[in-house]
């Protein structure tokens, strides 16, 4: 029996001004599952992620059509409570963006927004999420120093930990390893493998090998269209579309 569907996307189109960046995407993401999204630059991968937590709303020129259901909630609806949606759907960006606060306060930021004030609760959340992001051992003795003191790889894991502190159902990652060295990348992937037991993960990546390593299902985007989606083991061995084959064998993109 397959997992229940966590997110279902129906005929989703997104426009930035006159630019048509996503064209009629239809896709199901089962819960506790890693969906890898691959595709060349400008293929709409990031736009797709930013639709899932409605971050596209920040761009006044953006417009969307179609429907996305997350569980029972229609998140594309104009009545959708965007703030609480973003608490359910965490996001890690391509460039690590620590907030200009201490390591501890970066992690406590989200929980504090949700009204958690008690010190022992916050301590507990901070420790748990740092451990989940495989960062605890490296920073446990300097939680009060500025987050900017961390290396790039550590900052990115901090951002992941910060998202986990919110206890989201879905974690979106937008090329989280694009600026990282192989060891930091391995740490992030290690964290993701553990996380998928409890979270639904959407991982956008420029690195097809990363998708092959981490994702259960992989989707290939090209020029705003979803070309092909299927189990990672099948897609990388026997893609049905010739364009997918060309991309994963490195002939373009």
């Amino acid at each position: 029996m397959s997992d229940p569907v966590q997110i279902s996307v129906r005929n989703l189109s997104v426009y930035y001004g006159k630019q048509h960046v996503l064209r009629g995407i239809t896709l199901d993401i089962p819960s506790r599952h890693v969906l890898g999204i691959i595709g060349p630059a400008g293929s709409g991968k990031t736009a797709f992620l930013r639709t899932l937590n409605r971050l596209n709303d920040l761009n006044p020129d953006s417009r969307m059509e179609g429907k996305i259901l997350m569980g029972e909630t229609e998140i594309t609806h104009s009545d959708c409570d965007v703030v609480s949606l973003r608490k359910r759907v965490g996001m890690v960006f391509a460039l690590p963006v620590p907030l200009p606060l201490s390591i501890y306060d970066n992690l406590a930021y989200g929980p504090r927004l949700s009204g958690i004030r008690k010190r022992f609760q916050l301590d507990e959340i901070v420790e748990r999420s740092l451990k989940a992001a495989v960062l605890w051992e490296e920073v446990k003795d300097r939680l009060q120093t500025s987050a900017f003191r961390l290396s790039g790889g550590q900052q990115q894991r901090l951002c992941l930990a910060r998202v986990l502190a919110m206890e989201p159902e879905v974690v979106l990652l937008d090329e989280p390893c694009s600026g990282l060295d192989p060891i930091s990348t391995a740490r992030i992937e290690e964290a993701l493998m553990t996380l998928k037991a409890t979270h639904t993960i959407v991982l956008v990546t420029n690195n097809t090998k990363q998708a092959a390593r981490v994702a259960d299902t992989t989707a290939f985007f090209l020029m705003g269209e979803l070309i092909e989606v299927g189990p990672t083991s099948r897609l990388f061995v026997a893609p049905t579309d010739s364009r997918t084959n060309e991309y994963i064998s490195g002939r373009f993109g």
């Binding site: 608490k87 907030l99 606060l101 927004l113």
Partner: protein
């Protein structure tokens, strides 16, 4: 041939540039030359900390004026800083960029209104309001603070707008993606990142307020005394110089120049604080 022309233009421009610098230097030298001997003769303590200002009898204590200047400046900050910062936040975070493109230059126009006009509005509008609602003479610390608070708005707003605008968008997105509301992302993240720039704006605004003369003469009431409440009439350092310079001679005149030195030092301190804050924000 062309080379000679180049050189002439270059030298002419250099001359002009240096003349600006030179006039600044000359002003400083002149003030110090006129005031410093007096300061040394009277003693810094007697000059700064005595409350006795009777120039005809040879008593030159500017303590009341110093206190008044600080009160008025501080009051202007209390009025101008919250208004200006709130306005900067609103323009940066809550309205479309197109509104900002119209509003910001308009606010900067405020800086171009002659200070005598501000003073006039203070006398005609603000002072009577204070007199009828709060009592006292109307021309007071409060009145000066309100008028100066409005006068420093362009400084505070334009520097704060730049500081807030230079906070990377990724901070806002980072906070919003964690489920912050617009206001939570602003006050917990954006303001923290822009803090030093905003502080610099407020300090530069205070520098403007402490140096303002015309409007203050018109609205502060000009009695030489230490204010006990915000409704008291006061005379600031700048007002004192402007009011008495016309007829002062001898020691009296030197005392006014020495007052100028005190002002000069105050403004230098404020400007260096602002520059230090700016430098911090660049890092």
């Amino acid at each position: 041939m062309r080379n000679t022309g180049e050189r002439i233009v270059q030298n002419a421009l250099m001359l002009v540039a240096f003349s600006a610098l030179a006039s600044l230097l000359l002003i400083a030298v002149f003030i110090f030359k006129e005031g410093l001997p007096f300061l040394l003769r009277t003693g810094l303590r007697d000059f700064l900390l005595s409350s006795d200002w009777r120039p005809q009898e040879g008593h030159f204590g500017i303590y009341p004026m110093i206190v008044s200047s600080l009160w008025v400046t501080f009051g202007a900050m209390l009025v101008g800083a919250p208004l200006g910062i709130a306005c900067a936040i609103f323009l940066n975070e809550f309205v479309p960029k197109s509104v900002m493109r119209v509003t910001k230059p308009t606010i900067e126009l405020l800086a171009g209104i002659p200070s005598v006009v501000y003073g006039f509005i203070g006398v005609i509008v603000v002072a009577p309001l204070i007199r009828s609602h709060l009592g006292g003479p109307g021309l007071s610390v409060l009145c000066a603070a309100v008028i100066l608070g409005i006068m420093i708005l362009p400084t505070v707003i334009s520097i704060s707008v730049d500081a807030i605008g230079s906070v990377p968008n990724s901070y806002r997105e980072g906070a919003l993606a964690l489920g912050a509301t617009r206001w939570q992302s602003v006050h917990m993240v954006v303001l923290k990142a822009a803090r030093s720039g905003i502080v610099a704006g407020v300090i530069l605004g205070m520098g403007r307020a402490i140096g303002e003369t015309m409007a203050v003469i018109m609205v502060a009431g000009n009695s030489v005394k230490i204010p006990h409440s915000a409704l008291d009439s006061v005379r600031t350092l700048t007002a004192n110089i402007a009011l008495e310079m016309g007829y002062a001679t001898g020691q009296h005149r030197q005392a006014l120049f020495a007052t100028g030195i005190v002002l000069f030092v105050f403004i230098m301190i404020l400007n260096s604080l602002a520059m230090a804050a700016m430098k911090k924000s660049v890092k």
